[in-house]
Symmetry: C2
Subunit: 511 residues, 2 copies
């Protein structure tokens, strides 16, 4: 009798946590739609009402996620005598949910609202500052953002460096200690590789002028659609639109959308399709059995980024990919490519050239931008660099790492929107994603050596399935570290990344 | 002191009703976006999650709109001693809100949810039935919809005919007594006019073959964009997309979107732009001071429809409109129109020809479709016609009114989606809108006789301003009857409509 009573209570509390997660998931998807609409379709004057919509949805989700009822259900289900009765599925859901709720609860609603207001203002100031290339317009807002992040770090209060508490929001379990080690190795090795490349004859004679020709929008769109199809992103579950900054968003379990930008360079728009396509595949192939729970998610942003990087770099810049696509490319852009061959084109796709803007950086120097940003973020959070010195430090570091100095703030510390959105601790995930991607690629080639031949024939199916099997289908049942270990037999390993780089560029730059 | 206490309570309750109305408005706008997205952009497999979104938003809005707190605030503010202290603005808001909440409360959440489930099924069955042109597939669902509407009528419980309680949901204050009188006059007069027209030589020699030529999509789009601009629908606050059934939706106070369909006939797509454009102008020009309250709305669907009809028929089919547009048309569709002139074209635009499908009907016979549907709806709600007899009754009535008999259910009683969506009592508003539109047009010409010359020059500004002044800006501060009385000096008057028709068609059909 007693037993039965407990079981029915167990049922009730389980129902409650699943019901609430579903509500919060649906609210989140609605917010994604509002955000997508703002960036893709909204008439400009709709912006005011759009903010109202997002504020209302944000408040609702926070309310439901921090409700007394939910906490009581989690509390009950987490008691050892109840927890042991749960199925494996319920156990992992309770475990992840419990941590998420605990973390959300650490940030009082007032603090969240204060941050929202501050970042709304910071975003406007940043846009103006960037346009006028004037850091001083953004400076007081960045100071406020830093202050709020410092406060947030105190509220989250993880052990060690205060930056750990911020990092954990994007890359669960990652720490400054770990990053310092990883990035110090990565930075040294990338610098060495860059110097080697820069000393080659190929580098000295390289020339990008071809990409400055006019590649028609229509031609680019045709190619991009084709590549989206190759990646098995069917129109039944996805769509592709145009926006200022490319992004991927999940509007429903079977409705994931990507956007692309067209700025002239056809490799830019193609790169965004493949990159965002990698993100989209992840969200589409997350485990169905965990639909509408916190587990139907990637374990970290770094792991999510590993998929976009994998497709963008390991596949989209590979010889086999271009063996397949180049004929279509050449046919579509006859005039532009009339004096070029596959080998030249591949060198252009993989050109290494230090530049100011992270999102336009080549595969090799990309991570150096990330390391630079990480070092600065860590210091402004711990207070060892005042915000006002950021442009100066930025310039010095860039000179040291890449041998170039930004001519102004717009192409220096104002280039990215993350800080203006209140995000500090996000950047490292870009580099972690690149490392994971290289590890996965090495492993894939080891397990299925015919992948390059498949890609060359335009057959992407086995690659997608392998990634689903090794990464996507785990959702958050595993952590990022567990996922990569299970897939590749070892945890995060920057050496594998450097090895991949070395092999790749030694061929292209002939060293 | 006592006075002060009352005043601060008054403030508090006012704050609460405005806060809640804003939340409900924003939730409604979010639901409109979800619905728009479903019809315009959503990948097909998103449909399941889309229903979840709408269900969640519907539940939230119902919850907030029927909350104890809101009712208490309204109750307090409605007490005579408090009400008299309110500003005129607050008074009308409290009055309308009070009635809306009372009405919503009459329908228990379980009933609303039961109806939702029933209509979701009915809609699927209707789609299948229409596709197979087989009423028996839809019949049991229609019976259920009728039963639910009968129950709803009992719950709303307005005096007189049970249909009154349904009607009131679309056309506040309208009754069966009033409609019977209006529609009986209208039906007789329209039948007479139709017979007169059918006896003319122009009618006997008319021919629509020209519209069966191929009019390019690109050409139609160009014209439609131009007309949207003429109507002062700026891209800053509106957009125009393609959907299966044209519609207008309000996503924000400054974000109103229309859709258009392309089925070949260029007058069909143009008609939908102008029709939906009329709806869009209404929503854009509603009184700003009532933003985020129940008063920033049209007083009835009939009044809303008056605006779409006004633009579609009175303007969009007028000689002056085509004097302006025909040259562009002729230039865009050179080959198609090479043997036609403005006079012939205008006759084609205004052709009268009994047909089966309401939404494709000409201006004259359109209201006869509505009357037919009204008569059947009234009888199935009072129970004097069983649902199974609907196809037979439909055929008989259509033969009697229009002299034609549908060959099957698809072009008969299955043609429209309203019943499958649970709506009974909606149709009459289409005819009421046509009557209001004619009254407003007569009045406009009386007050500003130069309007036709302005339209001919492509100047729509004064017409838009007049409609804003006479209709839109009142929102729901006035009822539909009050609005038309204030604008035209008299209430709903079908005679004015017949007079407008008589004048128009006697010119075209030379009688």
């Amino acid at each position: 009798m007693e037993e039965q009573k407990t079981d029915s209570r167990l049922e009730k509390e389980l129902d409650n946590i699943y019901k609430t997660q579903k509500e919060v998931t649906v609210i989140g998807q609605i917010a994604s739609l509002v955000d997508w609409d703002q960036k893709v379709s909204m008439p400009p004057e709709g912006i005011g009402d759009c903010s109202e919509k997002l504020a209302l949805l944000g408040g609702l989700a926070h309310e439901k996620f921090t409700s007394k009822e939910l906490k009581e259900s989690i509390g009950y289900l987490s008691l050892p005598e109840n927890f042991e009765k749960l199925s494996d599925k319920d156990k992992i859901v309770v475990k992840r949910l419990s941590k998420d709720v605990e973390k959300t609860t650490k940030l009082p609603l007032e603090f969240v609202e204060e941050s929202s207001r501050a970042t709304a203002q910071a975003h406007n100031a940043w846009e103006k500052a960037k346009k006028e290339s004037n850091f001083s317009i953004f400076m007081p807002h960045l100071e406020e953002v830093v202050r709020l992040n410092q406060e947030q770090a105190k509220l989250i209060a993880l052990p060690g460096h205060p930056y750990n508490s911020l990092l954990d929001g994007y890359e669960e379990g990652m720490t400054v200690d770990n990053l310092d080690k990883t990035f110090s190795f990565l930075g040294t090795e990338l610098t060495r590789l860059l110097k080697t490349i820069q000393s080659t004859n190929v580098y000295k004679n390289q020339n990008e002028d071809l990409l400055k020709k006019r590649f028609s929008l229509k031609g680019q769109e045709k190619i991009n659609k084709l590549v989206k199809e190759l990646m098995l992103l069917s129109d039944d579950r996805t769509r592709m639109d145009v926006s200022t900054h490319p992004f991927t968003t999940t509007i429903g379990n079977k409705d994931v959308r990507i956007t692309v930008r067209y700025i002239g360079n056809p490799l830019d728009s193609l790169g965004s399709v493949i990159h965002e396509g990698g993100h989209a595949l992840y969200d589409l192939l997350l485990p169905e059995e965990f639909e509408n729970t916190v587990v139907r998610n990637a374990p970290s942003l770094g792991m999510h980024e590993s998929q976009s990087r994998f497709w963008e770099n390991m596949i989209g810049k590979s010889e086999s990919f271009w063996k397949h696509l180049y004929p279509v490319y050449k046919q579509t852009f006859k005039n532009q490519l009339k004096d070029t061959n596959l080998e030249d084109w591949l060198r252009l796709v993989n050109i290494v050239k230090p530049s100011f803007i992270r999102i336009e950086a080549d595969e090799l120097t990309y991570c150096m931008h990330v390391i630079l940003r990480y070092e600065i973020e860590k210091c402004i959070i711990e207070g060892s660099i005042p915000v006002k010195d950021v442009p100066k430090v930025w310039g010095d570091k860039m000179q040291k790492m890449l041998g170039i100095t930004p001519r102004n703030d717009a192409e220096g510390c104002l280039q990215d929107t993350h800080w203006s959105g209140g995000s500090i601790g996000y950047f490292p995930t870009y580099a972690l994603g690149s490392i994971y991607a290289a590890q996965l690629y090495n492993q894939l080639l080891k397990e299925i050596p015919t992948i390059p031949q498949q890609i060359e024939q335009g057959l992407f199916h086995e690659t997608v399935c392998w990634l689903e099997e090794k990464v996507h289908r785990h959702g958050r049942t595993l952590t990022a570290e567990e996922t990569i270990k299970k897939a590749c037999g070892e945890g995060l390993n920057p050496e594998a990344y450097i090895k991949y780089m070395e092999e790749k560029y030694s061929k292209i730059y002939k060293f």
